[in-house]
């Protein structure tokens, strides 16, 4: 027998035939089929016992209770808490995906310094101690006339109180608050009457809202929607927003002339604004005279009416002059406002002289509003040092030289003050649900280090809870089960502290009695005069910029806020919400300017220009551009990107009334 090539082939043939009678080919086929169903680069699912934990959302001022479904130490989904009146099970889309924020691609965990070298941005890491030393060096050499400013994004917290104390210890330290849109009308009411005010929306039968996104990111959504079936909603706004679309009556009004309608209403209700006949209101604001009379009649007939003019989170608050008029309207009707709550302490940044800030320490929280950077930038001295304590690179972090990141949402014990729409004062803790990453610094503790006065936030929070316990007032609602316990029934403050740490909120009882029966003639007179002054000042149009730019934002998606990359579902993978830097115009306007839906254009104001994507929307008033301040598609989930201007950068802040209406020009890109 010769062994040759032929034998080898025969052997191979035999092997091949034999293989068919072995498991090899069949098993490999099965295995590879199964492998394709479980590619190794597809993430593996977490395993472990599924538990329920509770916390409170801190992403905006709404104070929503949160139920987290956790696997081990990891929340895998968040929902509202159906058992509490604070939530009624509702949570907004931003809150529903809030547990993703610790893993956001634009999150910073460790402090770093950003310097501009030859037009290029250079980033160098440093420790929190080195950051503190760098700031201290600057503070020691602070030029005369410049101040150290702590910018509080969410006033009313224990942290805010710590900030106020610390500001007094810093060289020429100032405590200021960022522009707050929510709660503006009630805050004005308080300052006019000297009595803290709260609204009882659950008892209201009529709500007249001036540009407030009542049903799309205002107040506590669960509370507003639960009350919604009982009140009639009249929405006064220049464009068909989500709230206007869902309102019982939408009253379009020329941008910036809301106060004229309010004057007309006040005239019909009290006779105080003489001369503001429905016809005059129509000529100034475009609201038909019969509509003015109709709203006034409805307000008069209502048993518990509310006038809310908190403005849009991206549109800016009404000026104090206009706001006093809206506040006065609440006094002129049978109102659902009652005397309650804790006084609102705000020190608007607008009050600071321009170019006076030497060192700006920006809080990590978010006011929920899309404050244009220009509002803050105009107060900065040349070469001022901006320090962002936010864990995200967007928002103030975009403009900061030093970034000392705070723990992200759900990573540390936080507090939640009274919600802007709460019927009474409230307080909740937001216990952490995710272990914090090493290196994160609590903002109040960092600033305390600068002031040479060590503070531990959790200790201060505990002291606050002890004080609450000592008053014996109010009640505690446990998120698990919704059980309500009077504070008196907690034997020790530790019991109260533990309850709040397991997910619960404290709330004051509702007061008896009315807020105020009738407004004084002097108050009315002052309100009318200031509003008239305001109306006279506005309204000049620049022929080179014939369009009126109004801006909108969706709460907690703009300014210092950050959203989960999953929000791309709304902005990018569907057309549900317009992303940042899109500009909606009426079909007539688009025709006149030769712009198409989806086309690119350049929006120019006195402050600069910004590329925008055109949205043709018949719900926008002709001659008006409604632009979105918010996450742009490439900034929601993508890696950090520097530069590029946003709508917020080109809005013109105007004295005490920031950026409500800016004259603008739009041309094809």
């Amino acid at each position: 027998m010769n062994f040759g090539r032929r034998t080898l082939l025969q052997f191979a043939g035999g092997s091949a035939a034999g293989a068919l009678f072995t498991p090899i080919p069949w098993r490999l086929l099965w295995d590879s089929a199964v492998w394709t169903q479980n590619w190794s680069w597809i993430p593996k699912l977490p395993r472990g016992e599924v538990t329920e934990k509770f916390s409170t959302c801190t992403l905006c001022p709404a104070a929503c209770p949160v139920k987290a479904r956790c696997v081990g130490n990891q929340p895998v989904s968040l929902t509202g808490v159906a058992a509490t009146a604070e939530s009624n099970g509702a949570l907004c889309p931003v809150g529903l995906a809030g547990h993703h924020l610790p893993y956001h691609p634009k999150r910073a965990v460790l402090p770093f310094r950003r310097r501009s070298v030859n037009g290029k941005v250079a980033v160098s890491p440093l420790s929190a101690d080195e950051a503190a030393a760098a700031i201290a060096e600057r503070l020691n050499a602070l030029p005369a006339g410049q101040s150290t400013v702590i910018l509080d994004e969410r006033p009313g917290r224990v942290t805010s109180r710590i900030y106020q104390t610390l500001a007094a210890k810093l060289p020429r330290g100032e405590y200021v608050t960022s522009p707050q849109t929510e709660g503006g009308t009630l805050a004005k009411l308080e300052s006019l009457t000297g009595t803290p005010a709260a609204m009882n929306m659950a008892g209201a039968d009529l709500v007249v809202s001036f540009g407030t996104p009542l049903l799309d990111g205002w107040g506590t959504p669960g509370r507003v929607f639960a009350a919604r079936d009982r009140f009639r909603l009249i929405q006064v706004e220049p464009l068909l927003s989500r709230t206007a679309a869902a309102a019982d009556l939408w009253i379009p009004v020329y941008p910036g002339t809301e106060a004229a309608l309010a004057l007309g209403l006040l005239n019909l209700l009290t006779g105080a604004a003489s001369g503001w006949t429905p016809e005059k209101v129509q000529s100034v604001s475009g609201v038909p005279a019969e509509s003015v009379a109709r709203i006034a009649a409805e307000l008069k007939a209502a048993k518990a009416a509310l006038v809310i003019a908190d403005g849009d989170p991206g549109g800016g608050a009404f000026s104090p002059d206009e706001q006093s008029l809206f506040a006065a309207l609440n006094l002129a009707v049978d109102s659902a406002v009652h005397p309650c709550g804790v006084p609102r302490v705000t020190r608007p940044i607008e009050a600071l002289p321009d170019a006076s800030i030497g060192v700006l320490l920006c809080d990590a929280a978010s006011s929920g509003a899309g404050t244009p950077w220009r509002v803050i930038a105009r107060k900065l001295a040349p070469a001022a040092m901006v320090v962002s304590l936010s864990p995200f690179l967007e928002g103030y972090g975009r403009h900061a030289e030093l970034i000392v990141p705070a723990p992200a949402y759900l990573e540390s014990l936080q507090e939640v003050p009274t919600a802007p729409d709460a019927p009474a004062a409230g307080f909740a803790l937001a216990p952490p649900l995710i272990p914090a990453r090493p290196g994160a610094t609590e903002p109040a503790e960092f600033i305390a280090r600068l002031a040479g006065e060590p503070v531990t936030l959790s200790v201060e929070l505990k002291k606050h809870v002890e004080a609450l316990h000592a008053t014996g007032k109010g009640e505690v609602v446990r998120y698990a089960g919704g059980e309500v316990t009077p504070v008196k029934d907690f034997k020790t403050s530790d019991e109260l502290w533990n309850a709040l740490n397991q997910g619960a909120c404290w709330r004051q009882g509702l007061p008896a009695g009315m807020y105020a029966s009738k407004p004084s003639a002097r108050l009315l007179q002052a309100a009318v005069q200031s509003a008239e002054r305001r109306l006279a000042a506005g309204g000049q149009t620049d022929p080179a910029r014939p369009l009126m730019l109004i801006t909108t934002a969706w709460r907690a998606t703009a300014g210092n806020a950050q959203v989960s990359p999953l929000l791309t579902k709304l902005y990018q993978e569907s057309e549900l919400r317009e992303p940042g830097n899109s500009a909606a115009i009426h079909p007539d306007t688009s025709q006149k300017l030769n712009l198409k839906h989806g086309g690119q254009a350049i929006l120019t104001t006195a402050c600069g220009s910004c590329p925008v994507a055109i949205v043709v929307d018949a719900g926008v008033m002709p001659g008006v551009v409604s632009a979105v301040i918010g996450p742009t598609v490439d900034s929601i989930g993508a890696a950090p990107r520097n530069g590029g201007s946003t709508i917020g950068d080109i809005c013109a802040p105007d004295g005490d009334a920031p950026w409500r209406v800016t004259s603008a020009q739009l041309r094809r890109a």
């Binding site: 395993r47 895998v76 569907s574």
Partner: protein, 257 residues
């Protein structure tokens, strides 16, 4: 084997009734759906055509100009067709079936070969194709829902009424020795998340369920009823123009006026 008595729970026909007059288009349902079903964030290149949204809220308008212009929102997901289910008929892989026990149109992504015939056949544009492998930013994969397997590139997926929650409700009932689930234990994520309570879910064959009652309301209608596919998603509206647009031959095509 010891099982002798009724081995199976009673059959259900799960469906939804969505009140379009309550929906304010916030998008909570879409986000809650993506969180629940482990749908990843968009890839950089994804668009409204290539993205994955098992639940999608469409924006429609009445066509009138300012100030008579009005808009409404129509959440659209798999309509769970009960008869002549188009995707089932066309699938060459038997990767889709109508579960007789729940009436839910089951899609098995692992069985799918990615031909997308079902997407062409679906009259509601409710099916989505994975153009990319799923990717989450580093660390976020820890926050995946353990009840739903992530899908890979090249397969089709769609709403299945949060089947993971149905499993959980079944297991809870079984642990207590029951075969029938407690209806309160089974609510899809969008229903639970909707802050305006616009979506009601339940067994359409159970006369006591709120969903079954609402589905009989004179304000209730279904999308493209003329096709005879017997969808199990009902919509409610008291606004004639919304009903008219929603009954148009292709609701997804109706955009701002």
């Amino acid at each position: 084997m010891s099982t002798t008595t009724a081995k199976n729970a009673k059959n259900a026909r799960y469906g939804m009734v969505i009140d379009l007059d309550r929906c304010n288009g916030c998008g909570a349902c879409m986000v809650a759906c993506a969180v629940e079903n482990n749908v990843p964030p968009a890839q950089a290149k994804a668009t409204a055509r290539t993205g994955i949204t098992w639940m999608r809220v469409e924006n429609v308008a009445n066509g009138a100009s300012f100030p008579e212009h009005r808009t409404a929102f129509i959440p659209i997901m798999c309509q769970q067709c009960g008869e002549e289910t188009p995707c089932v008929s066309v699938c060459p892989q038997q990767a889709v079936e109508v579960d007789p026990k729940t009436g839910i149109v089951d899609q098995m992504p692992q069985r799918c070969l990615g031909c997308r015939y079902c997407m062409a056949a679906c009259p509601y544009h409710a099916r989505y194709f994975n153009w990319w492998d799923p990717e989450w930013p580093a660390g976020m994969e820890k926050a995946l829902n353990p009840e739903v397997a992530p899908r890979m590139r090249g397969v089709v997926e769609k709403c299945n009424f949060c089947h993971g929650r149905y499993h959980a409700a079944k297991a809870k009932a079984a642990a207590a020795g029951r075969r029938d689930i407690d209806p309160a234990d089974y609510q899809p994520a969008c229903v639970e998340a909707c802050p305006t309570r616009a979506i009601v879910f339940g067994d359409l064959d159970d006369r006591s369920s709120q969903a079954a009652q609402l589905a009989k309301s004179p304000d209730a209608f279904r999308l493209l009823p003329k096709l005879g596919t017997e969808p199990k998603i009902y919509y409610l509206t008291r606004r004639p123009w919304v009903r008219e647009i929603a009954s148009a031959s292709s609701p997804a095509e109706v955009r701002r006026g």
